[in-house]
């Protein structure tokens, strides 16, 4: 019998009260940890998908919309931009790499993105099976797309017009699955990739030209060709100063710096995060109050037990430490359950986001800041237990001996 096992037995000597306090404290810790995890995951998802993209060029409109549509694929793009101008940008001396993206169609809610092999290489995605597209109308599926739709190599599917499904289907121009990507925990997981030409082909065919085009028509068609967004990596960081200004004032397009826009977005989301965090703190304080009340009544109820310990020769410090130890048990148990609960909640949130084909969330990743959860819990429980422990320290033994 030592102070650790004895305080454990005392904690559960009144199971209902013990469980209630544990529940209260666990709820407080769960909500705080969940907010920490969620904001970390959000930032990580942004960072991962943004890596190496210095600027995004697209049609004029909201810069944040451009970033959300072009990098994260969670918003509709503001419009299209002429291919010729994009080609000119690619030749710009400050541009190291330009990846064009053509949006417009989707398959069962997953976006079909016309692009180049550079896009796959940019996220260092690997093929799980099959190969990249070699000719137009071949498609490569992201891991989540393949898992959800059940499509496999050689299968054919037709895209629907529009980004959220439900549009006209392009029956005449089906895609053939050429490959499936391994999960990369990035935006590619929920995209269907194909050659830029495929998207043009689908939409040019849609405009019903049954007769073969002559050279003049073909040239006119090519001059009208568009892409939706260009992801650009600079040659030098200095370009960040001049390049966006050049695009915004010198062309009909818009350049948006992801870093700036995401900071702005997180600033907006941050209000919500802070509200949630505040809510967690209130829960935790309630829990601390619960622990305090529980231990205080434990001291009152157990005054006899504590006095008896003193009669048996236990020094006052030992009696006080017994109560502190009980609070520590509560804190450690609640920390473990709270961390588990928060990761579980994150997993549920990740599952819901995946259902909405939104950001990828890795629920079971542990974040260094979580180490502060048990530290905080112990501090709160210790603080709550301090007064009861002091009362236990001071328990008047002689009084309990019927001394008047």
């Amino acid at each position: 019998m030592n102070i650790i096992s004895l305080s454990w037995r005392y904690l559960w000597s009144r199971p209902l009260a013990g469980a209630l306090n544990l529940l209260l404290m666990t709820l407080g810790l769960t909500s705080i940890t969940f907010v920490l995890l969620a904001s970390h995951q959000l930032e990580r998802a942004f960072e991962r998908d943004l890596a190496g993209i210095d600027v995004v060029v697209g049609a004029k409109g909201s810069p944040l919309q451009l970033i959300l549509a072009g990098v994260f694929h969670i918003d509709v793009p503001p419009g299209n931009i002429p291919l010729a101008e994009v080609k000119a940008l690619a030749e710009h001396p400050q541009v190291a790499q330009l990846i064009p993206l053509s949006l417009g169609d989707s398959f069962r809610g997953f976006r079909v993105v016309g692009t180049t092999a550079d896009y796959v290489a940019h996220y260092q995605a690997k093929l799980a099976r099959g190969a990249l597209w070699a000719v137009p109308m071949q498609a490569v599926l992201g891991a989540q797309v393949a898992a959800t739709t059940g499509l496999n190599i050689g299968d054919r599917f037709t895209g629907a017009h529009g980004l959220d499904g439900g549009g006209d289907s392009h029956e005449q121009t089906p895609y053939t699955v050429a490959g499936v990507l391994a999960p990369c925990a990035c935006v590619l997981d929920r995209l269907i990739l194909t050659a830029t030409e495929s998207v043009w082909k689908v939409h040019e065919d849609m405009h019903g030209t049954d007769t073969p085009l002559d050279a003049e028509d073909q040239a006119a068609l090519e001059a009208e060709r568009q892409v939706t967004i260009a992801l650009i990596r600079y040659k030098t960081p200095l370009a960040a100063v001049t390049f966006p200004r050049y695009v915004n004032s010198g062309t009909g397009m818009q350049a948006a710096a992801p870093a700036v826009e995401i900071t702005r977005l997180l600033g907006m989301v941050g209000v919500g995060t802070r509200v949630l965090q505040g809510f967690g703190v209130v829960l935790l304080l309630t829990a601390a109050l619960g622990v305090f009340i529980a231990l205080w009544s434990a001291v009152r109820e157990r005054r006899a037990d504590l006095a008896m310990l003193r009669m048996l020769g236990a020094p006052p410090a030992k009696v006080g430490a017994l109560l502190l130890c009980e609070a520590l048990w509560l804190a450690l148990l609640a920390s473990a359950l709270g961390l588990l609960g928060a990761h579980g909640l994150t997993a549920v949130a990740g599952w819901l986001l995946q259902g909405e084909k939104s950001l990828a969330v890795d629920a079971w990743q542990w974040v260094p800041i979580e180490a502060w959860v048990p530290v905080g819990a112990v501090a709160v429980a210790g603080l709550a237990a301090a007064l009861p422990a002091w009362a236990a320290y001071r328990v008047d033994v002689a009084r309990l001996l019927n001394v008047r």
């Binding site: 019998m1 030592n2 102070i3 004895l6 037995r9 005392y10 000597s13 157990r302 006899a304 037990d305 006095a307 008896m308 310990l309 003193r310 009669m311 048996l312 020769g313 236990a314 020094p315 006052p316 030992k318 033994v397 002689a398 309990l400 001996l401 019927n402 001394v403 008047r404």
Partner: protein, 226 residues
């Protein structure tokens, strides 16, 4: 052995109690007699080192208590004193055996399972070792509390009203048990009681008579006996 010299205790903001000198040899028996509220429990608390006298000296089990600091007093009490309070203070959070183990926990010693089993056996409650105190009868609970008091073979056993609310047969049995337990470890036995049956059952014991007037009357026989 217990000796007091000029012992007095001042209740904070209350009356002052003066106790006559008394001397009991090691292994002897002392009865503190008087109505409830006359200071018997205060005397017990002084002897256990739970209260400090405002005046005078008390030597218990050969140890003068006044030079001991708080920690030393606690450590001394853990080894030298077996206390059987009127309210038994058995912890409901623990089993009977667990309650005995508390004595080791309080003293900061490893649990001696063999001693626990032996003592429960000696007091005839070995089969109750895994029960909770709430499942015991009054007599059984007292035996368990006595087992805890004598577990570490103290030099002095202090019992507060051990026969209150017991019928004659149970009273006799309780006193026999106390006597046997005390002589088993050679302990000095001090019993605070207002029960005449105790006085009658222990004719050779030394006595201190307490009165309700807060003044202590030294018993004439107290100094003649033995």
């Amino acid at each position: 052995m217990i000796e007091t010299f000029d012992l007095a205790f001042q209740h904070p903001g209350g009356p002052s109690l003066r106790f006559p000198d008394v001397s009991v040899p090691q292994g002897g028996t002392l009865l503190l007699q008087g109505p409830s509220g006359s200071g018997k429990s205060t005397w017990l608390a002084l002897a256990a080192g739970l209260l400090r006298p405002s005046q005078g000296e008390i030597i218990v089990a050969g140890q003068p208590l006044h030079p001991l600091g708080a920690r030393a007093l606690d450590a001394w009490r853990a080894g030298a004193i077996g206390l059987l309070p009127q309210k038994l203070y058995l912890s409901e959070a623990l089993t009977v055996a667990g309650n005995l183990e508390l004595a080791y926990f309080a003293a900061g010693l490893p649990v001696d399972d063999a001693a626990v089993a032996r003592t429960l056996e000696a007091l005839g409650v070995a089969d109750l070792a895994h029960r909770k105190p709430a499942q015991l009868s009054g007599g059984q609970a007292q035996r368990v509390a006595l087992a805890r008091a004598v577990l570490r073979e103290p030099q002095v056993i202090l019992a507060d009203e051990p026969t209150a609310s017991l019928d004659d047969a149970a009273c006799e049995a309780a006193l026999a048990l106390l006597g046997a337990s005390a002589s088993g470890c050679g302990a000095t036995l001090v019993i605070a009681t207002h029960d005449r049956r105790v006085s009658e059952a222990l004719p050779q014991a030394r006595r201190l008579l307490f009165s309700n007037q807060m003044a202590v009357i030294p018993s004439p026989i107290g100094h003649e006996a033995l």
